[in-house]
Every structure is written in C-alpha cells, then in structure tokens.
Point group: C2
Chain length 223, copies 2
C-alpha cells in the first residue's frame, strides 16, 4: 500500500482518523477487519446524497426517471471509473489470492472500496461534509444526466414491450456456471413466445447474464 | 380526507409547509401532483437513517447481517404496519378507481405514502429532524433486531444450500399471470435438479411468487 498522503490529496479530504481510511481500503481477502461494513454504510449515504440532488436538480423528472438516473450514477461501473481516476487500486490492501488473480483490477472491488471510503468520511466527519465529498466526484456527472436519455435496462425494456402486446413475460434460465467462487461466468438462456429459438447471454453474475440475454433478444426483435 | 391536525399529532411532527404533507398523501390515481417523487426521496433518506443506526447499534454484525436487518425494517410489510398504526389510510387522497377496488387498504399504497411523508419531512426540515422522525417510528423495532435471527429469504437460502452441494441453481418460471394491471396474481414454478416435480408458488408479484415457491421447495427438502 502506498503512502496515504497522496490519496488524501486526491480525495480532497484529510481523515482525522486515518484508521478509517485504512479499513476502507482493506478487501475482505486481506483481513477480517475489512471494508464490508463501511461499504454497507457508504452505499446508503451515497444513495441518499444522489437521490436528494436528483430530486432538487430535476424538478420535472418522474419517479421512474429519477430512479433510472440514480441507478446510472451509483452503479458499480460508474463508481469504478471514479475509483480508477483516483488510482484507488494502488492503495488497496488485498489478500494474495486476489492479487494473483489480478483481482485488484476488478471493477467491483474498486467500486466497493469507493463506497467504503464514503462511509469512512461519514464516520470521520458529518452529513454535510460527506454530501460535499460525494458531489465532488459525482456532481458533474449528475448535472449531465438527462431524464429522457437514461435508457431503461434491457430486461425492463423487453418486459414492457411484451406486456404492451399482452404477451407472457420472458423466461430466463441459468444453463451454465463456470469458474471459481469469485470469478464465475454465468450463461443464461432467454425464451420468449414469439421467438422459436432461445437466446443466450453471458455475464459475471446471473443478473448481468440475464441483461445480456435480454439485450440480444431486443436486437433480434429489431428494438 | 380528514383534518390533518390529528395526523400531525400522530406523526409527532408539525409541517411548516402543509402542502408537502398533502402531496405525500396523494396517490397517483388521484392527481398528477402526487407522492411518487417524495416517495423516491423518502425511500433513500429512510435507507440511510436505518443503515447508520444499524451500523452503530450492531458493531459486531457483518455486512450481510446488516443488509438483512435493513431489509426487514424498510420493507413494505413493516412500513405498512407503521402506516396502519397511524391510520394513514384515513388521510389518503385516492382516485375513484383505487377507492372502488379497495386499494386504499393495500399495503403498498400505505407503505409508499409513509415513505413519501419521510421525504416531505426532509424537505420541510433538515437531516437531523428527519433522522429523529424515522427513529420515532422504527427505533424500537431496530433495537429489537437480532443479527442472528434475521433469516435470509427463501430464494437465498435455497440457492446457498444448492451451491454448498455444488448443484445447479434453481430455475424459476412464471407459468401464469392473472388479474388486472394493479391486482395481478403471479404463479411461478421452481425446479431443482434433485426433485423430479416442479413446485409452485403464488404471489402478488413475480418476486413474491418466486419466494413462495422457494419456501415450498425448502419445506419439501425438510430445510
């Protein structure tokens, strides 16, 4: 783990209790005193900050539009981009297993660590400071959100399309799971009535594989 | 809608902007100026308050235990109980369709309205006041939570049981959907490799039907 002074500068926040930052950077593979509880806390603080800001910033947006904008801002992909901009990977404390598997590059570990840092900032300071901390990293992305252009996810779009035609809901089945516990690949089949063939999606989680399959079906349908 | 003075007393909070409370009590069936945006806001504030309190109150609980306790506290069933204790149903502004269908008794409408009230309190006051407001209604339930006795949901338990034996994940298929848009019944089949028969679950949402089916499978397996 590198010197945390540089990280503090990048975070634009200096911890009074540096031990909180250290815990936030510790993956469960490295220690039982890890960042999982802080991630739980940070995730909820992040959710509230983003929800409040979206509510105030988009007075005309519907609840559905607000929810989709929030999802796009707090999802792992987005937080991993922020974490990579901060070079968080250089500061993570990972077990040897994760190091060998190249796990420190993995988006979810980075995103989780960033959420844990939000939790740590909250415990180290107060609501208002944490609010500003979150906006420092996500405020610009939030302002650039467009309620109309945040696409629904593929599963939702497929479901709504079929419901509009009063057709049965799509069926998703996991047909294969490969790999070790923390690096699994899921293969999911999606079947809808109007297509004879079942269509496959692959992803690193069941959810992602289902979304991938739904996306393929949408494309097959020309949507 | 009844006089809001009594409700203010029951809520233990007096609104400076009574229009916020009125909006929080207005279902989408009654007006386009309804409580959906406030519900979005209140849901996230509720999530943060409960997360922080659980984090502080259960220093030994794991992230998984904290998540399960949070789910049990913020889920619709729990919030509907609180809403019924407040007789929120008496104050709701519902469209004639919802009134006729007896919709005003429905748990989800009550739970949503309670979340919207939390959002309204937040806009009318500040973080600290809202925090206390939430704890006034959920604090005792929170303190009574036991990290060890909050059972995982049936789908999770079934999945973990099968994974421990390296068996394929269960498959869930929706086999029937009956009823009108806002009062549907879902029928879901659950299939696992080690049982020849498929087992059915019924519920008011796909998720609930899947949980019901998983519960039946667990019982079949003697778990």
């Amino acid at each position: 783990m590198q010197d945390l002074t540089r990280l503090s500068r990048e975070l634009n926040y200096e911890f009074k209790q540096e031990s909180l930052l250290k815990t936030a950077l510790t993956h469960r593979s490295a220690s039982s005193n890890n960042n999982e509880r802080l991630e739980f806390l940070g995730d909820s603080v992040l959710g509230q900050v983003i929800s409040i800001e979206l509510y105030l910033h988009f007075p005309e947006a519907s609840e559905g539009e607000l929810s989709r904008m929030r999802s796009s801002l707090v999802r792992g992909d987005t937080l991993a981009i922020v974490a990579r901009e901060l070079n968080l990977g250089d500061y993570l404390n990972l077990g040897s297993g994760e190091l060998k598997s190249g796990g420190f590059r993995r988006d979810s570990i980075l995103a989780d660590a960033f959420e844990a840092i939000i939790g740590a900032v909250y415990l180290d300071s107060d609501q208002q400071t944490t609010h500003k901390f979150v906006l420092h990293f996500l405020g610009q992305r939030l302002e650039k959100c467009d309620p109309n252009s945040v696409l629904k996810d593929p599963k939702t779009r497929l479901q709504e399309f079929l419901q509009a035609d009063s057709e049965p809901l799509p069926e998703y089945h996991v047909v294969a799971i490969e790999g070790q516990a923390h690096a699994q690949t899921f293969e999911v089949e999606c079947h809808i009535n109007r297509l004879d063939e079942t269509i496959k999606g692959i992803g690193s989680s069941r959810r992602k594989a289902e979304q991938a399959a739904a996306q393929q079906v949408l494309e097959k349908l020309g949507l």
